[in-house]
Amino acid sequence: MFAIGLYILLGVLTALSAVLLNLAYRLLRADPLESEKSASRLGSIKNALLGYALINDDWMPDARVKGGLIFNRKMNRIEISGRLSDDSLHRAFR
């Protein structure tokens, strides 16, 4: 039974490597202009992870980043958050 478990693990690992290879391929084939514009709004991996994408605060709505709110309990404040809009992701990875 342990052997069957090991074989399943090998199958899963092989599948995972196929998924990662596909991700790498899509990243390399992404539209460079849209990717650069989106990346400049994200700034850093930490900003992307925590939802702190840079938002254009203007009378014209920001089509690239959709905004939200976060309540920061530690600092007792409400913060403006943002992440890339679905449309922007779609344009980058068309």
Binding site: N22, L27, I45, A48, L50, I78, I80, L84, D86, H90
Partner: protein
């Protein structure tokens, strides 16, 4: 000399309200009967009751507003919370049938604990009571409705973190006041942080209240449910016309952006947004005329024709792509069926004839060396094929968050994933012989356990288990 007068309809909202916007309505008239009902982002809980003298509105909705990519993982570490509760407390004071405006206040609770402790029980009970009174024939019905409504307001005024007054007209024009805070420390901290990021925090809160009002008053058509940045609030100017121009510019920006997309439904959505744009221009025309100011001019006829041409092109390309995709899917399905059939057939043949192959004299050294690995290798290959074909395709399509975070350093992320692939495949190659050895040990143990009782029965000594050696089949 052109006199620029302030339209009389604008002076009232201007005194009390700071921001203006529009709830899209193609017909040019909102139905107040349905205000409160929403399925996005979560189901709302509401009561919309028409009394004799007015229409009463009370409702709430949980709105997850955090944009963190993996909030369940990161929120524990950062002590962030992205769930907010929005409450509408409003009425149509001129009567359910004739009144053309809803006025009231939108309240906001910043966390689940605040909401549950301070307001949920009372408001849920009030909404339930109001809904029960909706079809009641009780003579005191109207008085009871007003009573529940006012009690709810007392709860909200004393407990909500933020409140903002609003006025929504039947044409969809909305006006919001500057938000007020219950806790001055919360206000100061929030504004200070937003100012460092160069944001107008109070307008941002008003925008969120506007998105809530729009979600409970309007059905999202011609755009994705998650897109809330087509229209936002504008600063209400003295003439009350600049914000209208900005709404028109925003709508055209969205139309042109959709038209430039090469995806099939986007151009069709552009036509839908054009319909909204036309509706808003019709609503605003009298205001511009009164001020003797010209509305922004766009060549709508040419734009519409261009969008229709794009729709035709996209439809044709989509049809060709779909045909190719169907052909590819059919070939892939046939390949899978044939592949699996051959693998299963090969496994069956090998299982039946493996002992004979080993003992038949066909290069016994090679056969003895590889036979123990043949079955497990084929079993592993079959499992891997099944996982890759049927499972991995769905995983790849849904990893939106991983794609977004990878965009920050696109090429570095791609290189990292490829290194990870090499590492994983190396691990697989290392583990495969281990799995084979474990399988062989288990197989021998199984055979011994089966042979021992048989040998005992016929009086033969139990065959000694042959010590394992690499490549040995005995």
């Amino acid at each position: 000399m052109i006199a620029c007068t302030v339209p009389s309809a604008e002076s009232k909202p201007q005194a009390e309200f700071k921001y203006a916007g529009w709830i899209p309505t193609v017909a040019g008239r909102l139905s107040f009967r349905h205000v409160g009902e929403s399925r996005h982002p979560t189901y709302s809980v509401y009561a919309n009751v028409a009394a004799d003298s007015r229409r009463i509105l009370l409702g709430y909705q949980k709105r997850p507003l955090s944009d963190a990519l993996f909030p369940r993982l990161t929120n524990r570490w950062t002590q962030h919370s992205g769930d907010f509760w929005f409450v509408i407390h409003a009425e149509n004071p001129d009567g359910a049938d004739t009144g053309d405006a809803i006025t009231g206040t939108i309240y906001l609770y910043k966390s689940e604990s605040d909401w549950l402790e301070k307001a949920k029980t009372s408001l849920a009970a009030a909404i339930k009571s109001l809904n029960a009174l909706r079809l009641s024939n009780d003579a005191a019905r109207d008085a009871l409705v007003v009573d529940h409504h006012e009690r709810a307001q007392d709860v909200l005024l004393g407990t909500a973190d933020i409140s903002t007054k609003f006025k929504m007209q039947r044409t969809g024009e909305v006006y919001f006041s500057e938000p007020t805070f219950l806790d001055p420390v919360l206000k100061a901290n929030s504004i200070a942080f937003a100012t460092r990021q160069r944001h107008d925090f109070l307008k941002w809160i008003a925008d969120q209240a506007y998105f809530f009002l729009r979600d409970i008053s309007h059905q999202h058509q011609h755009h994705d449910l998650t897109e809330d940045t087509i229209l936002i609030l504008r600063d209400l100017d003295a003439a009350g016309l600049t914000w209208r121009e900005q709404i028109i510019y925003s709508l055209y920006f969205r139309i042109i952006r959709a038209k430039r997309s090469h995806e099939f439904p986007d151009a069709i959505r552009a036509l839908g947004i054009m319909a909204y744009c036309r509706s808003f221009k019709n609503i605003s025309r009298s205001k511009f005329k009164q001020a003797q100011r010209e509305m922004p001019i766009y060549n709508d006829i040419a734009l519409r024709e261009s969008i229709r041409a794009r729709i035709e092109e996209d439809a044709q390309r989509k049809r060709a792509e779909e045909t190719k995709a169907i052909n590819r899917a059919t070939s892939a399905a046939n390949f899978r069926i044939v592949g699996l059939t051959l693998v299963l057939a090969a496994l069956t043949v090998i299982a039946i004839f493996a002992p004979e192959i080993v003992g038949s004299g066909i290069n016994e050294i090679i056969a003895k060396k590889f036979a123990p690995y043949l079955l497990p290798a084929l079993a592993y290959l079959m499992l891997a094929i099944i996982f890759i074909m049927f499972v991995s395709s769905s995983l790849v399509l849904e990893w939106k968050e991983v794609m977004e975070i990878s965009l920050v350093r696109r090429k570095e992320a791609a290189a990292f994933y490829m290194i990870l692939v090499v590492f994983i495949l190396g691990l697989v190659l290392l583990l495969a012989p281990v799995a084979n050895r474990v399988r062989e040990r288990e197989w021998r143990a199984l055979i011994s356990s089966l042979e021992a009782p048989v040998a005992k029965k016929i009086g033969q000594p139990h065959p000694k288990p042959v010590p394992l050696s690499k490549g040995s089949s005995k």
